[in-house]
Assembly symmetry: C2
Homo-oligomer: 596 residues x 2
Amino acid sequence: MRSHYCGHLHETHLDQDVHLYGWVHRRRDHGGVIFIDLRDREGLVQVVIDPDDPEIFATAERVRNEFVLEVKGRVRRRPEGTVNPDLPTGQIEVLGKELNILNRSETPPFMLDIEDDEVSEEHRLRYRYVDLRRPDMFKRLKLRSQVTQVLRNYLDHHAFLDVETPMLTRATPEGARDYLVPSRTHQGHFFALPQSPQLFKQLLMVSGVDRYYQIVRCFRDEDLRADRQPEFTQLDIETSFMDEEEIMELMEGMVADLFTRVQGVELPEFPRLTYAEAMRRFASDKPDLRIPLELVDVDDLMKEVEFKVFSGPANDPNSRLAALHVPGGGELSRKAIDEYTKFVGIYGAKGLAYIKVNDLAAGREGLQSPILKFLPDEVVEQIMARTGAKDGDVVFFGADKAKVVNEALGALRVKIGHDLDMVEQGWRPCWVVDFPMFEWDEKDNRWYSMHHPFTSPKEEHIDLLDSEPEKCYSRAYDMVLNGTEIGGGSMRIYRSEVQKRVLKALGIGDEEAQAKFGFLLTALKYGCPPHGGIAFGLDRLVMLMSGARSIRDVMAFPKTQSAADLMTEAPSEVPPEQLVELGIRYYKRAEEKKKG
Amino acid sequence: MRSHYCGHLHETHLDQDVHLYGWVHRRRDHGGVIFIDLRDREGLVQVVIDPDDPEIFATAERVRNEFVLEVKGRVRRRPEGTVNPDLPTGQIEVLGKELNILNRSETPPFMLDIEDDEVSEEHRLRYRYVDLRRPDMFKRLKLRSQVTQVLRNYLDHHAFLDVETPMLTRATPEGARDYLVPSRTHQGHFFALPQSPQLFKQLLMVSGVDRYYQIVRCFRDEDLRADRQPEFTQLDIETSFMDEEEIMELMEGMVADLFTRVQGVELPEFPRLTYAEAMRRFASDKPDLRIPLELVDVDDLMKEVEFKVFSGPANDPNSRLAALHVPGGGELSRKAIDEYTKFVGIYGAKGLAYIKVNDLAAGREGLQSPILKFLPDEVVEQIMARTGAKDGDVVFFGADKAKVVNEALGALRVKIGHDLDMVEQGWRPCWVVDFPMFEWDEKDNRWYSMHHPFTSPKEEHIDLLDSEPEKCYSRAYDMVLNGTEIGGGSMRIYRSEVQKRVLKALGIGDEEAQAKFGFLLTALKYGCPPHGGIAFGLDRLVMLMSGARSIRDVMAFPKTQSAADLMTEAPSEVPPEQLVELGIRYYKRAEEKKKG
């Protein structure tokens, strides 16, 4: 066994005999002496091979990059002038007295001192075992392990029990697309991999477990957007007999404890924003509070203007007309503004109106805008007053269906914040609360749950479920950090009749409810306690904490956008007899086409 | 929020106001007073409803078993004569001053004070959320959570990193049957759920992670025997640059630490048995050392006897002839011995010869046995001498193919040990080492790995891989506790050429090896460190520690023998459009029959 990790050696070990294992990070021959940078997970140390010992010298000459070595030697101070202040072990070196090559290596597929983006991600994923040797990658795995350790300790300390729930479960109605697992013993039947252990954790509350947590794999067979993975990890939490205030306080404490212990920082207070306020001020239900830009609504000013692009939305209750004031944005070039116009187009915005403020005191003359001619003086004055625009600023406008305006201006706010270097340093968490229960889906012509169908409505809105579902608000709470939703939770429905009414609002009648959620509805009848919980996206949280740019960089073996593992080449074909056992056949689309 | 768990109240809380939540375990009306045993996960406390407060009394009258209550009240000493010494809270009671019914319950499907086997397991599984309320079940879930916590702390302390490996992986050649997951984005291709993260953890060693662990779900689509589940949980461990001695020492330390912290017991030393010795003395590679019975081989004595049942096996190198000496077994009735004969028949034994020792000094006259007449005096004497049989004992014989004798006498040894109440109290761990690399499979006419194809042969046996695989021993080590294998591990192959030779011995040529294990063989070429590891069956370990009779009793939501979840009714049918998306069809056997 090693005496030390390479990267842990320093001056306190001077003159000690050490026993090291590691990989050859680099070998240099210099004036008849061989230097080997020996690397293990904790860092590098320089090993000097004594030229006076012919045997060890001969071995050292055979050494190449990424060979696996065992080294015994003595720690000594580096000679004057060869100290490397950039290396934690740079004050010392190891005089190698024994050297064994434990394994050889072919020339690695890429150098280990690259940055994440210097090699194609495909290549990194294919040789993931080499990629993970890069110190940045190892640090992320280590951070992830520390994060789970600290979270677990907090929850253990607060009497939460780690309980495992099944992976081979029942399909999730009302959820995303499930991964299915054909059953061999019940042919024609399928398990589904869990999208979350939502119903199982609720059943654990019915069981009286009282406080549950689990760090658990979840699955969604979705077309992968930028930062989604078919399998991802949740810190899943549920508790009985606590209300949302108590749960939020406990979870704030947990996240604050995590950042103190792992990052060494004190998180600021967690402000609470209602969903309505978050949308109004930041056009987002996961506002990045590090960006000091806010929207103001101006529809009331525009109802009468002749400019239809504004007056139309201003008079439509499903639309929104909002202004985004950007201090110092007057510097933005015509080209930059064209780029932003293209950018909001991604979200469906048909244009991006703006007013540049050159000289506020000069009135209309001091402003610069293609739309100025459509707006009466008093409207312009009120816009300036309401946004607080000053000389050198710009005000952008969004006017469209509320959804389009929110997505476009929400994204623009973040983009401009980054482009103009306005993003504050550090961590800005918040809670978003008071979500609507339902969202209307134009395409399917029905209501969908904004969270999930087990989220409790506010007590005072239960009687609106049938008549005015749009006025129902839920007891949900999302934790947001620097513009990313890291946790989503709610108080759950614990009464069978309320659950049935919510399902009915979603268009699920009693019979269908019984078929799909019968076991839950039954369980609610046998003494279900009031309960609630939350689930944190662990990958995303670790990504934020590590500063990685993708969740793939905080997973040991992630999948590509097409949900494939390039290293093991999964998914793969399987022997036909395996499918016979399952009673399933597959057809390739190409074959179907030939038939058709 | 509660002020206390019900079960935590005791005399130190006298005269304190408490705020409790829980379930009605029992309600009794006695002399105009209502008593409610309020239960939460930590235990019961008696709540007395004051008859002088009409409102709370009316509420209490509506209360039924398993209703969910909120109670505020004051702790007081129970009146003389009503103290319940069997209950931890039995010295006190709570005078209820406020009572809210938070939820009602229908009459539960079974009583909560039953033992595990008083209700059919089907019924318990269907209403698992009620079953888990039983204090025995909750204690097991709690123990399981404590066990993982202590194991994690030990491993965190020893610089192991918790790293997650994929669940959607590549099919496992050479393993058990995989659960398959059809890919939607790569039609005709399938993921497999992992049988263990074996190759991923080895790749993490190639990555230099150095010390890895994970508590991880594994899957096997096997026909379920008594104590198997389609999904089970492993504590999976791997480390580089340590040899088997160091790994075994570290793991012994971990398990000893676990038992000290969770059970409050010091484990004895872990003796090491070679596979050969374990088979010879206990006819098992997972010997239960609590049972003070051992086998002795007697084939050398029987080579010349005329009794073919003995002399046949005695002269066949693939057979075994062994005696099991049972002190005090002379008491066994004819009927009992007939039962044992039937019992060994399960394992293929064609009979069960025995000699009862009535009076050793009387020689042949003092013995009682149907086979005595076939054995010469000196053989009988030597049997008596070698087994050490004394008056009142019995000696059983097994004579057959070695496999049959070992299974039959191995099982008989354990059964008799229990029947005659010989099982020592406490914990008897051991290591079994020096396993053969391969087992010959008569049916398939080929060698199979005794552990798995990545297990390293002993260095000195590498050159026998091609010529004499039966003489190759592996660097595997199994941890056995009270007759149950709780952990299996080995040093792994870390050189590409050795891996190829082992695969070849298994009948897997270079081309097939490349197709099935190409990514591993490639990884071994890029600087793979010497490494080894172990995996513990967490379910089984917790079952042993909790004294539960089945691993189903230490899982929150286990499946039945036919791999179904009776509560959620998984697996289930899925909408046809989901299968269309996956490009698969299933056929029911019945339909196939109709066609045929």
